[in-house]
Amino acid sequence: MLKIQINSIKILSLSATFTGLLVFAFFAISIFTLLTSLMGTMTPGEGQEPIKIEISPKGETIFTLKAVNSGLLAITTKLNIKLISKDKVVAQGQKAIKLLPKEKGELKLRLAFTKSQMEELQETPPKISFSLETRTFFDLAGMGVSAQMGEDK
């Protein structure tokens, strides 16, 4: 009886150590995946901007982001863009992409405007607020960066 008790306590003790090591390993792998993927997406190469902005003939503004997963776990990269003019959100959009390890993908976010909005934006160029977030470990851990471009007049 005592032997069974000792063995079960030894097994429990080993499982506690193993669980601790497993959590630490997943933590390290997640940080590595998030850092490498976010850095890879933010710095696509020399002379290249992370987000490409185009205006289509229909008057849509298209934001293109090339996302990469340089890590060891699957990631979800989310791009959120807001156009702010006179302290009001004129347009906003959000797009996400799931990438397996060593996979690359493209995120295209289209923002459409009405004629009156276009005229207003031409008068007062908007401030672009973007946030890029990468999540991993079943989307439970994440890292992101947000910034603002242009000046709201």
Partner: protein, 152 residues
């Protein structure tokens, strides 16, 4: 032999938490460490933690396994370990519980966000598990000692 083990363990904690942070952090440019808060605060916390962990290790090594002090030291060590993890993962502000948003001085309105709440929760689960196993081990050793199966 026990004294040697206690001294070596204590030296390990002192090197890891007192000497090593001083050696590395003082060589890192302050604008990189900016979002982490003042370097002095980090060094102070790390020094206190190092000394506490070294003392706890010495007490744990030098006391008998059936001594209640051994169990108390085990629980306190686990709690201090969890606090250290929480302190560093929350960028020096444990109340954030692993979710941090910091402005960085590389451009206007540039902020970075970190969300590691899941690892804080998992570490908390591991802490409870390890403390529970520690209590079971302690009672097991006490039972064996009471029935005369173990000598001091």
């Amino acid at each position: 032999m026990k004294i040697l083990k206690a001294l070596l363990g204590a030296a390990f904690y002192i090197v890891l938490f007192v000497y090593w942070p001083r050696l590395t952090l003082t060589n890192v440019p302050s604008d990189i460490l900016g979002p982490l808060g003042p370097v002095e605060n980090i060094l102070m916390t790390s020094t206190v933690v190092g000394i506490v962990l070294a003392l706890l290790f010495v007490i744990k090594t030098l006391t008998a396994k059936q001594n209640p002090l051994n169990l108390v030291v085990l629980v306190v060590s686990e709690l201090v370990g969890f606090y250290v993890f929480l302190f560093f993962i929350s960028f020096g502000n444990p109340i954030n519980f692993g979710r941090v948003e910091k402005a960085i001085p590389i451009g206007p309105g540039v902020t970075v966000k970190f969300d590691f709440r899941i690892f804080v929760q998992l570490t908390l689960v591991v802490l409870v598990f390890r403390v529970a196993v520690g209590i079971l081990e302690f009672y097991n050793v006490r039972c064996k000692s009471a029935t005369g199966n173990i000598t001091k």
